[in-house]
């Protein structure tokens, strides 16, 4: 009989993911000032670095990583997500990060195969 995966391996662990995202954002945005020309590059870099480290965890998951970078202007921002999945194995994590000139909100959704 094939070994079925243990429940620890097959569940989405939010704490590991939290660190991965935070470190990816720090490496890209730590001392940066909002720059309209570079912001596209920054979102791509944050998302790609997070994705590289998530896949290195080698878990049987599909991932969706989104990142929103917004200039600090006094404006308000709301995000919400609604998911139709298997609560036992799938999960998500949102990380809010800011510096003096901008906010960054990164979300990871992990869906078990």
């Amino acid at each position: 009989m094939d070994d079925l995966q243990t429940s620890e391996e097959a569940a989405f662990v939010a704490e590991d993911v939290n660190n991965i995202i935070k470190e990816s954002i720090d490496s890209v945005l730590l001392n940066a000032t909002y720059n309209h020309n570079k912001v596209g590059q920054w979102t791509s870099m944050v998302v790609e670095q997070s994705m590289k480290r998530l896949t290195a965890l080698n878990k049987p998951f599909k991932y969706v990583v989104t990142c929103v970078i917004m200039q600090k202007n006094g404006a308000g921002l709301h995000t919400a997500s609604s998911c139709f999945w298997d609560n036992a194995t799938d999960g998500s994590r949102t990380v809010r990060w800011e510096n003096k000139t901008m906010y960054c909100i990164a979300t990871v959704f992990g869906l078990a195969i």
Binding site: K62, V68, M70, C83
Partner: protein
């Protein structure tokens, strides 16, 4: 006499048939319609915008479930912000099977708010 075959209980399907795939175009129509219905003519208020965001996300998810594609998991993300001339950028990357999984996005804006909604459909093998 040929016996009637019992209905298959477990299908070890690697991918959905073409008709049963998550259609990005159809999903985008659904999202655009929900945004238009819910957000035309509204102005930004800090107290009720968070309720709208959640309602829109749930609404889109319910409409995607009505599409009745089998074995798909959905993730819907909605971002609503106030228009004050600030710069915003949203990006995403997905680690999945492009054969079976897809996504759709739509934006809406008026004088006082902007809204971006993204729906991702992921196949469960």
């Amino acid at each position: 006499m040929a016996a009637k075959e019992p209905a298959p209980q477990k299908d070890y399907l690697i991918e959905p048939s073409f008709n049963a795939k998550f259609r990005s175009g159809r999903a985008q129509e659904i999202i655009t319609e929900v945004l238009k219905t819910k957000l035309t003519g509204v102005t930004y208020h800090a107290d009720n915008t968070s309720t709208w965001t959640r309602e829109i996300a749930d609404d889109i998810k319910l409409k995607l479930k009505e599409l009745d594609v089998e074995r798909y998991k959905f993730v819907v993300q909605v971002v609503i912000g106030e228009q004050r001339g600030e710069g915003v950028r949203m990006g995403c990357r997905c680690f999945w099977d492009p054969n079976t999984d897809s996504y759709a996005t739509a934006e809406f804006s008026n004088g006082s708010i902007f809204c971006v909604a993204a729906a991702f459909g992921v196949y469960l093998y």
